[in-house]
């Protein structure tokens, strides 16, 4: 600890080391050994850097593990070293007293590291696989993962780069990505149960949801959106076929609190479900004869069979929720008098908007809700052979029109005052209607209903034209004077908007438009024990909005009833994933065309109220689920949560900012690897058997994928291996004139290891020079030559794939006869160059951390002051100054430690 000098800030640590590869670990352990208190930060979940991913190391052929794990263990057990993994440095500023103010944050890992035991159960059950960066993308790993077997600390992390667009867009945030990935994994019951967490009416939504998720699906930007609702239909149907009743009963802990819910539509049912799951005693009052609200009466059965609604309602009633049908609630005080502690109003919006047109009251002019209600209850008017005109252009116009077709109407007309493209109904609804024979009468509006004997016989319509855009941005329709025509019509259905069903409530509770007034966040009304949600608050929306409303209201009612503050966040939804990142990543993915959901033919549809879509088969559903691009990385299928014994998975985790004062800083941020595809003519990315040097090291490592050296294309053991040196090094064409310094040696090492693993294989190294300059290196090179590794001095110009799958290397042989030659190989390793990790320069915010001509951290005086940068007190260790081998890195890190120690001595900090 520093002396309490005047104005000196106490040090939280004597030194912060950024980056826990070989250099960082070595520096940290060295300084810790000297007695300094060290904070070692790494952005990855494990320390070890790149070296731990190597196979063996030259020239001794020690396992990389043997070399690196002792260093990893030493920093993790060192009494003076504090590890901070999965954390990033945001800012470093030098203070006037020579110490440094640093801001960092611990990234959200969604795993409580203190509790995690590294058992790997989450990894086993995780349903999402991605390319495994720790195997340089040779194989896949799960999203919940422990980076590699020797990781330190051995803790799982879960990758979440954002909310999947489908889940984010869903008003109820139903974890579409989650149940899709569960279906992909064949875990259908889990998929159903996951759905219940956000919406209990799985069957109804599977058929009648307008699926905003599909509208925002990233696959939609490629071969077409994933048919998420189709997958849901499959899982719901399958679940209900196997479970005629829910598998659960009322929750164990029943509370004394009583809740009344007015309205049994999707909002009321959903609220009841989540309140009952918390143990409250819930009673729903429904004015109609049967529960379900709009699900029951507002949606025609060809879209939503009523048996499905019944089964969905069982999900709610199984929890002990009582539904009293035929009971219209007239007075709120009455409910309170009956002992209800809280009331939720969820009465919906099914009152008909009127049309101020002559003849409105004629027999045969009906509201769409009334019409659909009668259709649903089997009391539809007899329209066989008659003409039905539906007035309106929204989805609520499509339902009566298409229902009328099924009722056997002679002619069905949709009359809409704007044009086709202005119709607010979904395109596929309009198209479906037209397919079924509905006539569109566009740019027209009724001016008069003409009756005979009080009964409708015709509608007088006027032609419209579009004027200036109105407030909604759509062009305002204007009647064209004198263009009236009379259309014979037997039944006219008004589908021109619905009003909130709030007529029974006191005016003081309502806004001007008749909507109930409730807090937009909590859904609490002016009376703190009365909440309101759904269409009666929001005006008409979709089923899924009402479900979302119900769950939100239930969440805050529960808190109110338990005496908790309502000042609490509702749902931990992350920002939406940037689709462009997903699309960029998916560039190389195979094309996956949509699975077509089976459906009835048009002719069949016209005849029946049976559901017009059929469920996908299991195979089709899984095929379709495979098209999901895992936009958010973690799909939130929650399987890991279910298997984690120490209960350490926490999706509400947030990044934790930390601000510290440290005496000195050492950056050991390493290097980056050049993308081998940059050298396009060498075929990396096009030919699977052209791999990079780091990938070859993984194939040779003891922890290698497949536990064998296999060529990626067909899993065959390679027999003629080529290793090409200087790919993107010493190469002006990729602006990297530097020698990579370690490529020759690691290629020679790989050649020796490959010959050991594959005794029959020939190994050829294509080279410019062999730079075997370190202690024992030249001897190692000579050993490779004596083992029979062939060295060809020559640059490979291009690689082509032959018909037999092998690779033809076109190169210039610089020795002997010389000239252009072609050689066939069956595995090609590109010893790629390296690039500076320029992220380091953004860390220092107190001015500019100087770079050298090649973008590495500049040492101001490499000859007598190694590791010193232009910032006094900030040192650099290892490959951040330029790539080097492990021995040189270790030495350089020792130098950095010495420099930082001297600095601490100088500023009077430390120990």
């Amino acid at each position: 600890m520093s002396k309490p000098d005047e104005g000196r800030r106490p040090l939280d640590y004597d030194v912060m080391v950024v980056g826990a590869g070989v250099a960082g670990m070595e520096t940290a352990a060295s300084m810790g050994d000297m007695g300094y208190r060290v904070l070692l930060v790494d952005k990855n979940a494990s320390v070890g850097g790149r070296a731990i991913l190597l196979s063996k190391v030259f020239p001794t052929l020690d396992c990389a593990s043997c070399i690196v794990t002792p260093k990893m263990a030493s920093v993790s057990h060192h009494p003076n070293v504090q590890l901070m993994t999965y954390s990033e440095v945001d800012s470093i500023v030098r203070n006037a007293d020579g110490s440094f103010a640093v801001d960092l944050h611990k990234k959200a890992s969604y795993v409580d590291f203190d509790a995690c035991t590294g058992c790997g159960k989450c990894e086993e059950i995780c349903t999402v696989s991605v390319a495994d960066e720790f195997n340089y993308d040779l194989v896949t790993r799960r999203i919940a993962h422990i980076p590699f077997p020797q990781a330190v600390p051995k803790k799982a992390v879960i990758d979440r780069r954002g909310e999947a667009p489908c889940t984010f867009t869903c008003p109820a945030n139903v974890k579409a990505s989650g149940y899709v990935s569960l279906v992909r994994a064949g875990r259908y019951e889990e998929a159903f149960n996951l759905h219940l967490e956000n919406a209990p009416l799985v069957g109804s939504l599977a058929r009648a949801c307008y699926a905003p998720c599909e509208g925002d699906c990233t696959r939609g930007d490629k071969e077409g959106t994933v048919h998420i609702r189709g997958i849901k239909r499959f899982l719901a149907d399958r679940y209900y076929a196997e479970h005629s009743e829910p598998e659960y009963g009322p929750v164990e802990t029943q509370l004394a609190t009583r809740v009344a819910i007015v309205g049994s539509g999707p909002a009321g049912l959903s609220a009841a479900f989540y309140l009952a799951r918390e143990g409250h005693q819930v009673t729903i009052f429904e004015a109609d004869a049967e529960a379900g609200g709009m699900l029951r009466t507002g949606i025609p059965p060809y879209r939503l069979p009523k048996a499905v609604v019944d089964r969905d309602i069982k999900n709610v009633t199984a929890l002990g929720v009582e539904i009293r049908t035929g009971q219209r609630v007239a007075s709120l005080p009455d409910l309170k008098a009956h002992g209800f502690d809280a009331v939720l109003l969820a009465t919906g919006a099914s009152d008909q908007n009127g049309l101020a047109v002559e003849g409105r009251d004629l027999d045969g002019v009906v509201g769409c809700m009334k019409f659909l209600h009668d259709v649903n209850l089997g009391a539809a008017p007899d329209v066989r052979g008659k003409t039905v005109m539906v007035i309106g252009g929204g989805n609520s116009a499509m339902d009566p029109a298409r229902a009328a077709v099924r009722l056997g109407a002679g002619r069905v007309i949709i009359n809409y005052r704007r044009g086709r493209k202005e119709m607010p109904a979904h395109d596929w609804e309009v198209e479906g209607a037209v397919e079924e024979g509905v006539d569109l009468m566009l740019m027209s509006t009724p001016t008069r209903f003409i009756g005979e004997n009080g009964k409708l016989v015709a509608v007088e319509c006027i032609r419209m034209e579009l004027g200036e855009p109105d407030a909604s941005g759509r062009r305002r329709p204007i009647p064209v004077a004198g263009s009236e025509t009379v259309v014979p019509v037997d039944v006219a259905v008004l589908a021109i908007g619905l009003l909130p069903s709030t007529s029974t409530f006191d005016r003081s509770m309502k806004s001007g438009k008749g909507l109930l007034v409730a807090d937009p966040h909590t859904r609490q009304t002016a009376d703190p024990d009365v909440f309101a949600c759904g269409d009666c608050v929001t005006a008409p929306t979709m089923i899924i909005n009402a479900v979302a409303e119900g769950r939100r209201a239930a969440f805050y009612m529960d808190r109110r009833l338990k005496g908790l503050s309502l000042d609490a966040p509702f749902d931990g939804v992350l920002p939406k994933t940037d689709k462009s990142i997903v699309l960029e990543e998916a560039k190389g993915f195979v094309k996956r065309s949509p699975v077509v959901q089976p459906a009835l033919t048009v002719e069949e549809r016209r005849q029946t109220f049976a559901c017009y879509e059929k469920a996908m088969s299991e195979e089709e559903a899984r095929q379709e689920a495979l098209r999901c691009m895992n936009c958010g990385e973690c799909s939130q299928c929650m399987e890991c949560v279910s298997v984690c014994a120490p209960k350490c998975i926490d999706f509400s985790q947030k990044p934790t900012p930390v601000s510290l004062n440290v005496g000195s800083v050492v950056v050991s941020t390493g290097f980056k690897i050049l993308d081998p595809a940059t050298k396009a003519l060498l075929g990396y990315g096009r030919y699977p058997d052209v791999i990079s040097g780091p990938q070859m090291d993984r194939l040779l490592a003891p922890t290698r994928p497949f536990n064998a050296v296999l060529r990626p294309s067909d899993g065959k053991e390679p027999e003629r291996i080529a290793i090409i040196l200087c790919v993107g090094s010493r190469d002006q064409t990729v602006c990297n004139p530097l020698c990579c310094r370690i490529g020759c040696m690691y290629a020679i090492k790989q050649a020796q290891l490959a010959m050991g693993a594959l005794p029959m294989a020939d190994v050829t190294i294509y080279t410019i020079d062999i730079r075997a300059f370190g202690k024992g290196y030249n001897e190692f090179y000579e050993q490779a030559r004596s083992m029979g590794v062939e060295f060809i001095k020559g640059k490979v110009a291009r690689i082509e794939q032959l018909e037999n799958g092998n690779l033809a290397l076109h190169y210039e042989d610089m020795l002997g006869e010389g000239g252009r030659k072609v050689r066939e190989h069956d595995l090609v390793v590109l010893t790629v160059g390296f690039l500076p990790n320029t992220d380091v320069f953004s860390l220092y915010k107190g001015g500019e951390l100087a770079a050298d001509d090649f973008g590495y951290v500049r040492e101001v005086d490499p000859i007598s002051e190694p590791a010193r940068t232009n910032v006094d007190g900030l040192y650099v260790a290892g490959t951040a100054i330029g790539v080097m081998d492990i021995p040189d890195t270790v030495l350089h890190s020792g130098a950095a430690a010495t420099q930082a120690a001297a600095y601490l001595q100088r500023i009077g900090g430390g120990q």
Partner: protein, 583 residues
């Protein structure tokens, strides 16, 4: 046999290094049922943090009192597992390391059943030894906060400064009469065109100003005794006066020697054939045109890899197989220096660089690029037909088969031929006798492990820095010097050091002082003491390395080494023969 022990046996897969050739599961299962074994299991990587954690839990849970881990060489992980045992609350000396990799799996790759059977026997022997362990306490030594640095070249001087900056006192001794080493003599250096003499002078200046550093020139180490943390050293000044110093650690920065070519090697000995070092001095001294023999120089040939990357032959019985690392850069940099002379004096000089591989690694590539831009021509030769340098008229003729021109034989006329002589270890037998630092195959001082402990030596408390360890350029030398300082600082800043208790114990009742052990000990750890009238030998614990040379030479069997006691060794032999020779 004493009472039953509770030993944990852990067999490591070493990620396949062992388990590919030895059935580790069978080894563990076999041992599980045997006497003294409480638990036996396997781990993919016993050294990994998670495995260690598991073992620690098991040691605590099952209250184990002994530990056997069968894994790699103890050189790699014995200390890892000792530390682990200690964390688990077990005395680290009740842990026994069995080497199942170097001593079993790697040498029996073709015989899995045989290797497995041997593995079982090795582990059994380990268990037998562990059953006879008892807790030992390390010897705690107070350390002296003073360091001796040997060699006042750039590495030694920079190390001294860094040690003093840490608050340690430093004695730096230099055999020559001037500090600075080769750096002071080299002139300008690549890749940054820094002046060696300036760098050396600057370091010397800083040393003179530092009150905690004492520099002695014309000084040689003549004696060393004591041990890590507390050495007594004798330094002879100017060949006459002896100075006794007490230091806690020693850093050896004695540098290299340039290779001296044999007479006739690439024409060495002919007028105009010079070493790289001589050529650099010519360039430094050159004002105006470069001349040789009174004539302006027109053609210069450079022969690379002289004294490096040698192959055994009649004229080269003890080849230097190593690459000298710095010479490609230094010679290519010389090309630019020569070009500068050429340009300044309006002279035309053709440069021919005869190389094998240009090893200008990393950013040194820029030096090579610049050399070519400065007119250096590179011709590549193969060791099968090396270049010949012969006198031709009053100049030199260099004949080379250029492998890049289809092995065409070229003859180059040259005024000067520069031999890019590499680095070889210093010949310093008297110092070697005192320090006893092991050497590696190339003759340079050997580190304990190039990646794990690159500046430490087998002699505790003695670190190596700079080119004494192997060829390096100046920046690398200085970095290694500072790394040696980091280790030394870690040792001395703490104020104490724990020494291994695995040392010799002499039964004074049996001993009759014959002096055999005294003669056998390479560490001077035996001294004669008197017990009453009787003269007996005693082992100095702090000097003893537990090396054991004294044990077999004792005619009275009076000496044991802790950790390798006779009863333990006998038990190990018995255990490993258990099945081979049925009772």
């Amino acid at each position: 046999m004493t009472e039953e022990r509770r030993i944990g046996v852990y067999v490591c897969h070493c990620g396949g290094n062992i388990s590919d050739y030895v059935d580790v599961k069978e080894v563990a299962e076999t041992l599980a049922g045997e006497a003294n074994v409480e638990v036996a299991s396997t781990h993919l990587f016993a050294c990994s943090d998670a495995s260690q954690q598991e073992m620690i839990e098991q040691i605590r849970e099952k209250n184990l009192d002994g530990l056997v881990i069968a894994s790699c060489s103890p050189k790699l992980h014995m200390f890892t597992f000792r530390a682990m045992a200690e964390r688990a609350g077990l005395n680290p000396y009740e842990y026994v390391h069995v080497n199942l990799r170097e001593q079993c799996s790697w040498v029996h790759k073709g015989d899995r059943p045989g290797a497995t059977a041997k593995g079982v026997n090795l582990v059994r022997a380990g268990v037998a030894k562990a059953a006879l362990t008892h807790p030992l306490t390390p010897l705690r030594i107070e350390t002296q906060p003073r360091v001796l640095v040997i060699g006042a070249g750039a590495a030694g001087m920079r190390a001294a400064l860094a040690l003093a900056d840490m608050g340690l006192s430093v004695y730096i001794i230099e055999r020559e009469s001037e500090p600075g080493g080769w750096t002071a003599k080299v002139g300008r250096m690549g890749p940054d065109n820094r002046s060696g003499p300036e760098v050396a002078a600057n370091l010397f200046e800083r040393i003179r100003e530092h009150q905690h550093i004492a520099l002695f020139t014309d000084a040689e180490l003549t004696a060393k005794s004591g041990h890590i943390g507390d050495f007594q050293v004798t330094v002879r000044l100017r060949g006459e006066e002896d100075l006794s110093l007490n230091v806690g650690a020693i850093i050896v920065a004695t540098g290299f020697e340039p290779y001296r070519p044999r007479a006739g090697e690439y024409g060495f000995g002919l007028p105009g054939v010079v070493t790289l070092q001589e050529f650099r001095r010519m360039l430094e001294a050159c004002e105006g045109p470069l001349t040789h023999n009174g004539r302006p120089v027109r053609d210069v040939g450079f022969v690379y890899c002289v004294g490096s990357r040698q192959e055994e032959g009649e004229d080269c019985p003890e080849p230097n197989a190593h690459c000298s690392r710095f010479c490609c850069m230094a010679t290519s940099f010389s090309a630019s220096l020569l070009h500068e002379v050429e340009r300044k004096s309006n002279q035309t000089i053709n440069q021919y660089h005869l190389y094998r591989d240009v090893r200008t690694y990393g950013r040194l590539e820029t030096v090579y690029t610049q050399a070519r831009a400065d007119g250096a021509l590179y011709l590549r030769w193969d060791p099968a037909s090396p270049p010949r340098v012969e006198p031709r008229d009053d100049r030199l003729a260099v004949t080379v088969k250029d492998t890049l021109l289809g092995d065409e034989e070229l003859e180059i006329g040259a005024d000067l031929v520069v031999l890019a002589t590499g680095m070889v270890p210093r010949q310093n037998d008297s110092l070697n006798d005192i320090l006893k630092i092991p050497k590696s195959k190339d003759g340079f001082y050997n580190e304990i492990h190039i990646k794990l402990r690159p500046v430490e030596t087998a002699i505790d408390g003695v670190c190596i820095a700079g080119t004494a360890q192997g060829p390096k350029n100046l920046a690398e030398s200085v970095a290694s010097a500072l790394a040696a300082v980091a280790r030394t600082g870690a040792l001395l800043k703490k104020g104490f050091v724990n020494l291994e208790p695995l040392v010799a114990k002499i039964d004074t009742g049996r001993c009759v002082w014959c002096g055999e052990c005294f003669n056998a000990c390479p560490y001077g750890a035996i001294e004669k003491i008197h017990i009453g009238e009787k003269e007996v030998a005693m082992a100095i614990e702090s000097s003893c390395k537990g090396e054991g040379g004294c044990v077999p030479v004792c005619p009275r069997d009076a000496i044991v080494i802790e950790g390798y006691r006779d009863d333990q060794i006998m038990a190990m032999i018995d255990a490993s023969l258990e099945e081979a020779v049925p009772a």
